[in-house]
Symmetry: C2
Subunit: 378 residues, 2 copies
């Protein structure tokens, strides 16, 4: 263990009159300790870190030596407080266990790390109330920028975020992009468009009775939006097709997908739908597995498609059609956008609605394959 030098007031200067106050520090090594050991003052050590070129080689050597024996860890609070620069960016995602957001965070983290920023991460557990708490909490660290997920927030969270923008802190909404009425910069895509594309894909394959299985997660607004648009698109397709949105039970998503499939079966165990679209791939995979267990042919008797492009969709025989969202790219693009906004100082209300549409694509696999050309419906 490195010996921690005594911090006792070893005063070479005059003792302050009537100085009997209790010391407050926590036993850590400070810049001052290192400086004393190196025979310089703390500002020189500080420079050694920030502008190494500006300290004499000999001095640098002595400082390096002092550092080697002192396990010095710079106190970031102090640095941030003094400089006003935090080099920290905060992000709030609904869930860290959801691999979708994990990859976004990965992209964000990589993009920021390259620029020397640290990431303060929080999760809201898909609760707007907790999101507000987290917004408040992370803003307290004066991050240089904040990324949140989606465009639905509590009034309180919105107020905090707007105050932050007004104070010059860029705020970015990830995963969702809907320039109309946007209050913040957005990096993502339009989920309604995805919902429509899913419907169109199934309609084009000739299916007539379509179902969208929504997630059991109440606050997954993006999934709901896809479902809503899906339904609207089906309804707009004419009288010969029917659309329906049902909800998967909360809990394990594989089980939820299975349950949704079962719910769609008639008394004879046959699907009352031609095709089912799911809010996410776990649900879709669950349904696929249940279909397989029951001998329901996919896509012969029932077409299935999901959202998310989870690894498993490539693994199940024939593959499961899905929408590949730019999970990683959203994070990466958010980082880029943040860096740009931070450097230009453009964080004003004027940029609300700006941002980037990050492209997604529909990946067609076996679960919605059309044998031959099944003929155009509707």
């Amino acid at each position: 263990m490195t010996p921690v030098p005594p911090i006792s007031a070893q005063s070479d200067d005059e003792s302050p009159p009537g100085a009997t106050r209790a010391r407050r520090g926590h036993g850590r090594v400070t810049l001052e300790d290192v400086a004393r050991a190196a025979g310089v003052t703390k500002i020189t050590v500080s420079r050694y870190f920030r502008e190494p070129g500006k300290v004499a080689p000999e001095t640098a050597r002595r400082i390096a030596h002092a550092l080697a024996t002192h396990a010095y860890v710079p106190n970031k609070q102090a640095g941030m407080l003094a400089s006003g620069r935090s080099r920290v960016v905060a992000a709030i995602v609904p869930s860290l266990s959801n691999s979708v957001f994990a990859e976004t965070v990965q992209g964000l983290s990589e993009g920021l790390q390259a620029a020397g920023y640290e990431l303060l991460l929080a999760s809201s557990g898909y609760s707007m109330e907790r999101e507000e708490e987290q917004v408040r909490a992370v803003l307290g660290w004066s991050p240089n920028a904040l990324a949140v997920t989606g465009r639905h927030h509590s009034a309180g969270a919105r107020a905090l975020m707007q105050a932050a923008v007004a104070a010059g802190t860029p705020i970015i909404e990830m995963w969702d992009r809907q320039p109309r009425g946007a209050r913040f910069v957005q990096v993502g895509f339009d989920h309604a468009e995805v919902g429509r594309a899913m419907a169109r894909h199934l309609l084009d394959a000739g299916h007539r009775r379509l179902v969208y299985v929504d997630t059991g997660v109440a606050a997954d607004f993006r999934a709901h939006e896809r479902g809503k648009a899906f339904l609207a698109a089906v309804r707009a397709a004419g009288r010969r097709v029917s659309g329906q949105v049902i909800g998967a039970p909360p809990g394990d998503a594989f089980d939820g997908g299975r349950a949704a499939l079962v719910q769609m079966l008639d008394e004879r165990g046959r699907p009352r739908a031609d095709a089912m679209a799911f809010a996410n791939d776990h649900l879709a995979c669950g349904a696929w597995l249940e279909a397989q267990a029951r001998g329901i042919a996919v896509p012969g008797a029932l077409a299935l498609m999901g959202f998310g492009d989870f690894a498993l969709t490539r693994q199940l025989a024939g593959g499961i059609t899905t929408v590949q969202p730019p999970r990683y790219e959203i994070g990466r693009e958010t980082a880029t956008t943040m860096l740009r906004l931070m450097s230009t100082g453009l964080a004003e209300g004027s940029v609300a609605g700006l941002g980037r549409d990050v492209p997604w694509r529909l990946v067609e696999r076996g679960s919605t394959a059309v044998p031959g050309a099944r003929g155009g419906g509707g």
Copy 2:
């Protein structure tokens, strides 16, 4: 006396409605602003937050009113610096995308949140070098405690961690427990024991030719340890059984599992092993899917088992035998242990090796089921 403040290029014209004037630092509202608006001094506002009982009701009312119109966000850097208490705990996990750690983080987060702590999260990407960087980075925030994953760290990281312990910051190693030679408090379990249990399970089922498929992730030391113990246990079981450890290719784990299975097939497409144990359930599921695709009966022709208890293992027909690690509990227990150490101030070297064994269990499912009683081997 008063140095002329740097002239702000832009004229401080009128502040946005609701919020009062922008100040020089971040342009953020400070305690002082609120205090002025409430007609008190900042310390009173500070007390209003920390010890509400100690401010007069009338004063409290005025402060509350001032707050309502000021979007005040406390500056945590300043608070921490002044109080020395951070109410922040840091954790470093190998990967946020790995659901195993995601759940641990969830448990940790929940346990800490209840006690009013915030979580600073970092991921090392399974790299000891990056882990050291992250240790250094998070220690700069003066967390009240730090949790790292596993007991393998770079010398530099170890030095930083030991200095932190010496300075009174509890450090906990999660997921691994090996009291011999431990330098820090550990909350987890012994992976060698798991490896032995996996071997025993397969041996007891009468299998003779056993294979452990290690992960393609080089720095997943715990997986390697399970493999090593697995092999040792098989070798110790006598001359009539054989054991082997092979590595899965890096990349997608489902594909890795498939590849590992293929690698074990002879020219006629028949397994050269009786049973395969995998470093994780993704690999095991991949192998299972490949076996199914090739018409290899599981467990008839080949028994499979994994580690991790991922949701999918319950879904594939018959289920896949796995080891259920206490993913969530490790996080929860880490939180409890941290809180205890922080309150007792016991963070000295004397507690190294202390900690908790968190129990795991082997979940037997179809993929290793013994039809009837296949007869005792070795």
